[in-house]
Symmetry: C2
Subunit: 211 residues, 2 copies
């Protein structure tokens, strides 16, 4: 979804600038801490995108020096705040998921059971690691050392989403590992337990049952 040359990534950066002014390097750190969990982007974008915002009049750049070293700090303009509010007024699009590890499970009948187990184990470890990162950020907030206490209501909502997501991934991986361990060495010879599909169908019907 883009409007007038600005992409969602542009608005993600603009939103951060609405919180406070940042240098590009500080933005990369914020990416690691929070934004990257819902809108991951390469470091170089964080140097490139603020310039586009400046070009559009939505931000200003201020050259500073730290020690004898130059750096550029970006801050939002009033026009930028208006543009951000307009962007927020349109509902955002739904989650987009790309999951290579699951793709390998999906095609696991063309490989070995051990390969499938390895992919699932990697997923489990990924979920655990992400949860650990979230937990350490959460610990800081619990200890009152959170960066932006005035934004706590917004953080509450987003943190709950990402932690629930990581938990769900981890639980799936535990379950899937148990299933695949019972497969024969050649997964194309595996037999499906009808109860699995039945339970999945119950769950999805419940989720589709509206409101």
């Amino acid at each position: 979804m883009s409007t007038g040359g600005l992409t969602t990534t542009s608005y993600a950066i603009l939103g951060l600038l609405a919180v406070k002014p940042w240098s590009s390097y500080e933005l990369t750190q914020q990416m690691d801490r929070s934004l990257g969990h819902l809108w991951p982007r390469a470091t170089s974008k964080l140097y490139e995108e603020p310039k586009k915002l400046v070009g559009a009049g939505l931000a200003r750049s201020v050259d500073e020096t730290v020690g004898r070293r130059p750096r550029t700090v970006y801050q939002i303009t009033p026009k930028g705040r208006r543009a951000l509010a307009r962007w927020l007024d349109e509902p955002g699009s739904g989650p987009v998921l790309e999951f290579e590890g699951l793709l390998k499970v999906f095609f696991s009948d063309h490989g070995s059971r051990d390969a499938a187990l390895a992919s699932i184990a990697a997923t489990a470890e990924w979920a655990r690691a992400q949860s650990a990162i979230s937990a350490s950020v959460g610990d800081e907030y619990e200890a009152g050392r959170g960066r932006f206490p005035e934004r706590q209501p917004q953080l509450d909502l987003t943190a709950r989403f990402v932690t629930d997501f990581y938990a769900m991934v981890g639980e799936w991986a535990q379950w899937a590992a148990g299933v695949v361990r019972e497969w024969p060495a050649d997964p194309s010879r595996a037999v499906s337990d009808p109860e699995v599909g039945a339970e999945t169908l119950r769950r999805v019907r419940r989720a589709a049952g509206h409101t």
Copy 2:
């Protein structure tokens, strides 16, 4: 993750060709039915990527006609099967999530409460719609009209992941809507309930608690 000019998308197509030969158009339909839930790609990729596979000797193209109309069907080669098996032997990478709707909630203190509610409502509707699509595919399988019964064990695992994901998104949206409805019209004046953060922290600690 790529190897020798082939991308994950290349292998995703190659995996489908390992199941049976397809034309590009048939691949687009399969994208809608299954693969697109975990590895979404634009239609044009499905016309472009098989040609790369042919160029690499991993697939062959067969020109057919339907009525008086030409079409190209792609099928995997033995070399393609070996390449697929090698790819499957490496664990895949973890899920990558991009979620613009959540981004707007994250920055909702710079907009209106109603805008935040609209974004959350759109997310709830998205989750319901995705679940409904999954349910209808599930119904077909339950009725024994599933396309590839021999791949049921693999479908069991992937279907469970995506349906649980949609359910989790829907439950989050329901919960978040309830929270935001209690906010004042200006979300920057909202007050955080400490219990929310505490509960999130409990959940994430449980998920991080290893194995």
